[in-house]
């Protein structure tokens, strides 16, 4: 999968701890244009911390971080112009209408208000939300909010996308649209950093899978490479195996026995 281009993201021996608790224990990672990286791991493995460090939201880490060759901590924020971000929790200024919100976000990325509005309207229409464009986001369903977030992360044509559970709340048809869109964006040379807990999706869309556990990368490669190394059928099984989790049957049967005990 390696290309000859320079990496857009380069993490070297990245470490981070919150009050004595080590979240990241030396992560090394290079991301190249055109890759769709499925960034997976159990809860608390340090996935969102990594993303937040790259976005400059979290400071106090050790190791080296380079995004487009730039260090997020050096005070120059211009590199963020080339990043699109969909956070895990749908946090939006939801008293605004979709039109107001998206125009505002576009402007923050340096677009003119007219360009941002037109682009947002066209994208929302493609997502089937043209009619809701001038309604307040607070009235939207979960899937609709997710679409607004997706649009807001793409308005400025970023080179790197950080997506945290981007498909949550979307119906099956919209999921197909978004998956296809991501593939096309990657084909144009954008790097997509995709975290999710739904292994089937990660398995299908990722060109490279990075598995994080206990603040360390425990697997890195395409799905076929991982399969060859681990002799397991699905990504879900590989995930279980690599994170040392093999008691799901025991736990499930204990749960059922508790249910029946009442």
């Amino acid at each position: 999968m390696m290309t000859t281009k320079d990496p857009v993201i380069k993490l070297t021996n990245l470490r981070m701890s919150y009050g004595g608790h080590h979240v990241l224990n030396g992560v090394d990672l290079e991301v190249y244009p055109g890759q769709i990286i499925g960034y997976i791991g159990p809860n608390g493995a340090g996935k969102s911390t990594t993303v937040k460090i790259m976005l400059g939201l979290v400071e106090g880490y050790q190791g080296e971080v380079r995004v487009f060759g730039q260090n997020p901590g050096d005070g120059d924020v211009s590199y963020k112009k080339r990043i699109g971000y969909v956070p895990e929790i749908a946090e939006l200024y939801d008293t605004l209408t979709a039109s107001e919100y998206l125009t505002f976000i576009g402007e923050l990325y340096g677009l003119s208000a007219d360009d941002a509005e037109m682009k947002a309207r066209r994208m929302m229409t493609e997502f089937g939300l043209g009619d809701a464009f001038n309604s307040r986001i607070s009235t939207f369903s979960k899937g609709m909010k997710q679409k607004v977030l997706l649009v807001s992360s793409l308005l400025h044509n970023p080179d790197v996308l950080f997506l945290d559970e981007p498909l949550s709340g979307l119906d099956a048809n919209s999921v197909m649209v978004v998956k296809e869109m991501l593939a096309l964006l990657a084909a144009q040379g954008k790097a997509i950093f995709y975290s999710s807990h739904i292994m089937d999706v990660v398995e299908k869309i990722s060109s490279r899978i990075v598995l994080l556990d206990g603040g360390r990368i425990v697997a890195d490669g395409s799905f076929d490479e991982l399969k060859a190394q681990n002799h397991e059928g699905s990504l879900e099984q590989i995930f279980n195996q690599l994170t040392g989790f093999n008691e799901h049957q025991d736990i499930a049967s204990r749960l059922v026995s508790i249910v029946q005990g009442v």
Binding site: L57, Y79, L92, T95, L108
Partner: protein, 556 residues
Amino acid sequence: MKEMKSLQVLDRFRGLFEKIGVEYPVMRRIVQVKLAMDARRKPTLAKSSNQKRKQDTAESNQFLRSLWLYVLFGGFSSMFVLMGDNLLFQMSILFGIMMFMVMTSMISDFSSVLLDIRDRSILATKPINRRTLTMAKTVHIFIYLFFLTGAIAVIPLAVGLFRQGIGFFALMLLELILMDLLIVVLTALLYLVVLRFFDGEKLKDMINYVQIGMTITIAVGYQVLVRLFDFTEMDIVFKPAWWQYLVPPVWVGASFQTLLHPGEGMTYAGLAVLSVVVPLAAFLLYLKLMPALERNLQKLAEPSAKSGQRSGKMLRRISDWLCSSPQESAFFRFTWSMLGTEREFKLKVYPSLGFSIVFPFIFLFSNGLDQGLEGISGSRSYLFIYFSGIMLPTLIMMLRYSSRYKAAWIYRTAPITSEASIYKGALLASLVRLMLPLYVVEAAIFAVLFGASIIPDLIVAGLAMFAYAIFCFLCMRKGLPFSEPFEAAGQQNQSFVFMGLMLLLGGFGLLHWLATSLPFGVVAYGLLMIAGTWLGWRLAFRTQGTKKVARPDGND
């Protein structure tokens, strides 16, 4: 989104902002969006006054419309400018009041501005430099402080201009600006300290209590301010003391004294210098600390670590003892926990709880104290304790509202045989948790004031409170507890029922008063209350099993 006047004023300072490294167009856009969002939000003070809210009327700032209340308060306070010639004292009191008003309003209404965690994932991920972000937030807050301070200070300023002259006016203007600086810094610092040592839940609780405190203070404040006119006759001599260096309003008072009535010595000059230096220094500190606050805000998003296991056993024993069925006792405990944790419910109900605490004493002291403390022990003024029941209609009406009303689907999906047990449990829990402790404490204070001989009367009055509560429940439209949105509370006009219930409370008191003048009257009255309670308890819940209740689920 329309152009706001405030932004056009801001444009004049564009050069200044750019000089300190702020990207002006970006900052302006953020402030514009924030102001537009605020226009769709309601402040605490206006909540009780405007009951009917039209959906999506023209965009107008509710906050600005609630400012008349502050103007009124400023008008009251302006008497301190008028009254005497002791500028130090007058201005200290005036600024004390204004600082208190602005600061509490800042905490209750603008905490959402200072503590908006969405800013982190929405704004901080965008290519905006840190100074611009900090400035945008600061400017946003100052625009509101400008209106708020303007409203509260407009009358005192005008009175000062006419009574004390232009110098006074100019000085007051300057001190107001410095006061605002200090308030912003103090509030931010307060949040920073709370967040540093506690978790986000603690901070939200604290804000909740400040909101409640402010509502009570304003209601009681009108009473007290009117009475304060007596004070003006007194001659107050101010002696410099070390603690005055710690009280910001005194600094302000001192600067008025020093500049307008010079010749009072160096102590006042020192205090006056503080009034200028401290706010400016504090503001520089604030600009430095803002990023630290932002970082700590992350805590607001994290779940809190503390668990509520403390009173579990005890509560279970109380509920089993009071309730007749397991389901009833389950709802007792459910209501008990909801009353303690639902913030919006507290915000709506606790102010009237405050009235219940304060009103008996206000009436007692304004009517019964003419003969002094010895005089009241023989009188029947202790019947003012009936005013402690003033919260019951509000409490019982509010019981059916919640900010998470949609969770009420649980009533429909769970196999609950009779709705009576829901109502019984909820009503009992609210009375035992809120009314009982309040009444016991007030009764104890009254017993000390009036002597032990009134204890039988207090017990009978307590029974009457219980009967009254059930009567309130009977009179009001039934609704499952915590099953309707608070917004609906404004829509049903129940003010007639409310008025009637208030009068009824007076009726209970009057009946008790009549009973005290008959032999064995109080005993008879007590028996009547017990019978009434027993009958009410049968009647109030009887029909619930069969009757269809309004759908708890809202529009979805």
